[in-house]
């Protein structure tokens, strides 16, 4: 594991990160939508993969998106819980997820010491932050087409339809889309005070170990608060997803490189806790 630095301060890491994400999104694996459907359909309850082209190939980047989506659709004990969210597994599952992505970035960048950068969203909170310049992570509203990140391509998206409900679609490659600050539930990013309150939690998690933890004096456990269910959601991690919006919203949120920047920051806060 390389050293992880602030994406706004470490220009070399930022440039490498964007370059690596684009390379992974362009690296076709030979795995087709039909093959993914064949393998995952028997395993994932409710699995529904739709596409106009079952022979469309998926990229390495897409496989990470699939991995996350599958984990989200495997329920486990606890309300609102799945194999990666809504319970004690949330932080360790995403730590492993980050490590595997980091390894892939090290490979395509040929930099064995490359560290996944993090976005300190409690410090870098402005919708007009330089983070969103085309030369950095790209615009935070609309399709991201300019700058190096404009070459990143999305092929797997969770969609919603009135008669079908939620489903997964493999489609023609397209740019990332964002809608920063548009959701009234997440008009602003989390604050340093909210992070401090999270770090004041004395336990990693609390009964009933799902999205509904409760405890004396409002203590809900670090995992619950950091994931963003309490005291009022969406908070911390959850709010960052909702604030960025667009591709960061549904279960296919690893489509946006900001997903990993957010989780690298979450992982950093966990290490401090």
């Amino acid at each position: 594991m390389g050293t992880r630095r602030d994406v706004q301060r470490a220009a070399d890491d930022r440039t490498g990160y964007v370059q690596g994400c684009v390379l992974l999104s362009q690296e076709l694996t030979g795995v087709t939508a039909r093959q993914a459907d064949t393998v995952l359909r028997p395993v994932v309850p409710g699995w529904q993969l739709r596409t106009d082209d079952p022979e469309r190939e998926l990229s390495t980047w897409d496989l990470f998106v699939l991995w996350h989506y599958v984990a989200m659709n495997l329920p486990t004990a606890g309300r609102g819980a799945n194999r990666a969210h809504g319970g004690p597994i949330f932080l360790p599952w995403h730590r492993l997820f980050l490590l595997r992505l980091e390894q892939e970035l090290q490979r395509v960048l040929d930099r064995a010491d490359f560290g996944l950068p993090y976005w300190d969203w409690a410090r870098d909170r402005a919708v007009g932050s330089t983070l969103w310049q085309p030369g950095r992570l790209g615009r935070n509203q609309g399709p991201v087409t300019a700058g190096a990140i404009g070459a990143l391509r999305v092929r797997v998206t969770q969609r919603f339809q009135p008669t079908i409900g939620g489903y997964l679609e493999v489609h023609a490659p397209r740019p990332i889309e964002r809608a920063a600050g548009a959701d009234p539930d997440a008009a602003a990013l989390p604050t340093k005070r909210e992070v401090a309150a999270c770090l004041d939690e004395t336990d990693y998690d609390r009964q009933p170990f799902d999205i509904d933890a409760t405890g004396p004096s409002g203590m809900v456990g670090l995992r619950n608060r950091l994931e963003g269910w309490r005291p009022v959601g969406p908070a911390l991690h959850n709010r960052v997803h909702v604030w960025v919006g667009g591709d960061m919203g549904p279960g296919t949120s690893p489509n946006d490189p900001v997903f990993y920047l957010n989780h690298a920051n979450v992982d950093r806060i966990w290490r401090r806790g």
């Binding site: 004990a77 799945n82 919603f160 009135p162 409900g165």
Partner: protein, 124 residues
């Protein structure tokens, strides 16, 4: 899944990951259980949602604090189902979806993550 059951499964050479999936026995509802003054209470909640007169096939769940959750919008829990369904509708596509690679039959919705059918009893 109970701890002893998990240990048994993990000790089996032929353990299939799908056996661990259906830990929710309920299909389309939530049961909140608690004891109060020595009495055991269960509150079972089911939602039937229609959009433009058509039944929406996915399910919402209620936490003990009354917040409503939908696995398709994983970062949300809202004070009411109305709030949550508004957010689902906000994200719906008007375009006709492409066909499924493997047709599911019926309503086009496969076995739900929270249980084996649409009308089963809720539970946990």
């Amino acid at each position: 899944m109970q701890r002893d059951r998990l240990a048994i499964n993990l000790g089996r050479a032929d353990y299939d990951v799908t056996e661990g999936v259906a830990v929710h026995t309920g299909a389309d509802g939530s049961v909140r259980r608690f004891t109060h003054h020595g009495r055991t209470v269960e509150i079972e909640t089911h939602y039937r949602i229609t959009i433009d007169g058509v039944e929406f096939p996915d399910h919402l769940h209620v936490a003990d604090n009354g917040m409503v959750h939908y696995h398709g919008l994983p970062q949300y829990s809202t004070p009411s189902a109305v709030d949550l369904v508004r957010r689902i509708v906000d994200r719906m596509d008007d375009a006709v979806p492409p066909p499924p690679i493997t047709p599911t039959g019926g309503d086009g919705h496969g076995v739900h993550p929270q249980g084996p059918g649409r009308r089963g009893r809720a539970g946990r």
